[in-house]
Symmetry: C2
Subunit: 382 residues, 2 copies
Amino acid sequence: MKFIHTADWHLGKLVHGVYMTADQREVLNQFVDVVREEEPDAVVIAGDLYDRSVPPTDAVELLDEILFKINVEAKTPIVAIAGNHDSAERLSFGSSWYKHSQFYLSGKLANCFEPVRINGVNFYLLPYAEPGVVRELLGDDSIHSHHDAMKALIGRIEETINPNEPNVLVGHAFVLGGQTSDSERVLSVGGSGCVGAELFAPFSYTALGHLHSPDAIRHETVKYSGSLLKYSFSEATQNKSISIIEIDQSGNFTHRYRSLTPKHDMRELVGFIDQLLDPQFYEKERTDDYLKITLLDEGALIDPINKLRQVYPNVLHLERKIDVLNLKKKQSFNAIRAEKKSEIELFEQFYTEMTTSAFTSEKKAVMAEMIEKVLKGEAAVK
Amino acid sequence: MKFIHTADWHLGKLVHGVYMTADQREVLNQFVDVVREEEPDAVVIAGDLYDRSVPPTDAVELLDEILFKINVEAKTPIVAIAGNHDSAERLSFGSSWYKHSQFYLSGKLANCFEPVRINGVNFYLLPYAEPGVVRELLGDDSIHSHHDAMKALIGRIEETINPNEPNVLVGHAFVLGGQTSDSERVLSVGGSGCVGAELFAPFSYTALGHLHSPDAIRHETVKYSGSLLKYSFSEATQNKSISIIEIDQSGNFTHRYRSLTPKHDMRELVGFIDQLLDPQFYEKERTDDYLKITLLDEGALIDPINKLRQVYPNVLHLERKIDVLNLKKKQSFNAIRAEKKSEIELFEQFYTEMTTSAFTSEKKAVMAEMIEKVLKGEAAVK
C-alpha cells in the first residue's frame, strides 16, 4: 500500500507582505502531477491546509481545485486533518459529502477513535485540538498539556486498535526533538506544547504536520513531511519535499522523498551592494527568487532597496550588517549635537556623505534660506 | 413534480445584538420535518443562506447539519444559489463533491446556461452577481444595471431553452413591484437594482430570493418565498412561510404555503408601562417573543428597560412615543437655561421628577458642597 504524506500547505499565506498563492498554485499543480505518476492509494495531508481560519477567497478556490483534481479526477483517496492554523468548523463544512469519493476530512476530534481503512491500512485522524478541548471530550480533568492530551487520545485508540494490522496516525503537533522555524505558530508557551515521540509507539507510521522541515525530527516511525514551500527565511536552507511511503501488511515501510520545484526559491544573499548589482555576479543568479539581502557596506547608501529591486524584483527583506564594535567608535547622534554644529553644517556633512557632488556655495545659499524659513516657522515649500 | 421553494435563511444573523442561530436551528429542524412529510423531488434555496460572507462558525455548522439531513438522510435533491449576502467563493467550496448526491450549489455564474434537470423539470441557477461581473462574463459592455444583466443572462438561456418542458429559474434579485423591509441589504442606489418581472416570461416558475415577504410581489409565475424568519421589526406583520409547488409537464403549477413556528415571534407592543407590567395584561402574552416596545408615557421613567425585561426578557428595542406638538409647549433645555436657575435648583427639579422622596435640606447641603467642588475643578469624589 502506497501513500503520499504532505502537510503545512498554508494556502493564503502572506510572506513579508507578498501573497504566496501563485507559488502555491504552481507547486500544487506539480504535486497533482506526482500523484498521477505515483498513483498512490491515498494522499495524507497532516494539517494547516490554510494559513488562517478565514483564508482569502483565492486560497479557498485553489484548495477546492487541487483537491478535486486529486480526489475526483485522479480518483485518489484523501485523508486530511485540520491543523492549528485551520478553522476546524469552516474547513470541515461539507465533509460528510466528501466521504463517498473517499475524501476523509477531519476538522474536529469527534470520530477520531474510528479509523479510516484504505487498502488494508488503518488511518487514525487526530486533527489539532487544544488540551482543554480534549479534556472536555474525554472528561479527563488531568489533561493540561498537549502531551497529556495526545497520551489520553492514543490511550483511547489503543483500546480498539488491531496491532496485527498496519496502523498510521495522522496528527498535527510539536513532537519533542523537532526544530522550529519562524513560520510555525507557537502552540503553547513554556514547553507545554511539546509531545513526546514515544507516545506514537502503537503506530507503524506517524504522519505529522506542524514543523516545516522533514528533518525536524529523527525517528524511525514518527515523521514530518515538511511544508509545501519555504514560508520564512529561517527555512531558507531546509529541504522541501513530499514523502512517499510504501507500507506492507506487517506495518514495515519504505520511505522516500520527492521534491517539487517552486516558482521562486526563498533564500538569502549577503554581499556589498556594488557586487550584487554587478552583472557578472547576478547573471548567474535566479534573480526573481524571494530574497533576504544583507548588505555588508558601511556608511550611507542612497535608496538601496530600489536599486536592488531593479535587478532582484522579489527582495522581501533588506538588512545592513552593522559592525557593532566599529560603530561604537563613531560619533553618535548625541555626540554630533554636543559639538553644536549649525543646521547648515549638519546638512553639509549629510550631503557629502550621501552624494558624490560638491556642496557648492550656491547650494549652500539655497539651503541656508530654507533653514531660516523653517526656523522662523514659515512654510518651507510654497 | 413537487418542489419546496425557500430563501433568505440568513444563518449567522444578528438582530439588535442577538444571534438568531438558536431560532434558526429550531425552525430549520421544523423545515426538515416538512421535507420528510412532503417528500418533494427537490428543495430550492434562492440565496442568502448565510447573512454574511464570513459567517460565525456555529452558522457554518448549522447549515452543514441541515443540508446533510435534507440531502443525505432524507435523500432529497437540493438546488441552491448564493445571494448578495453570501460569499460566492466560500459558499461553493466543495460543491463539485455535492453533485453526486444531487445537491447542486451554485456560487458563481459560470455554468448558469446549463440547467439542472430533476424529474423532468429544468432548473436554471442564477446566483447573485453584480452587473459588472455579468458584463465581463458575457463580454457585453452595454450592461450597466441589474435589469440589463438579468436580461442578457436570460437572453443567453433562451438560446438553448426547451419551451416545451417545464423550466424554473432560481434567482436572487429585487424584482420590480417588490416591497422592501429593513433587513434586506440594498442592492443598488437609485433604482438601478430593480429588475423587471417581464424578463422572466420564458419560465414556468421563477423562484426568487432577496425580498423577505412572500407578498412582496403579486405575479402569476414570479414569486418570492420570503425569509425563514422575521429579521427586522419592519417585517413584524409579514407572513413567513415556505412555498410548496407542484408543477406538471406543461409547466402548469399549483402553489401553497406552509408556515413554520418560530421559537420566538418578532413583534411590536405599544402601551403605557404600567399597563405592560400588569399581570392581567401580560399573562395573555407570549412574553418571551422578540419585542419592540413603544411606551406612551410622558415624563421621566426610571430604568424602564430593566423593569420591562423582568417580564419580557427579549425586549430588543425600546422607544418612547413623544407627542411632538405637546413637547413644543414645554420648556426646552435652553429655555430652562434662560431662566438662569442655579445648578442646585436644576438638580432639585431633576430629583423631584425622578424620585418620590423629598429633597431634604440635608440632601441639599450634600449636593451644594458637591457642586461647589466640581465648579472649583476639584475631584468631586475622593
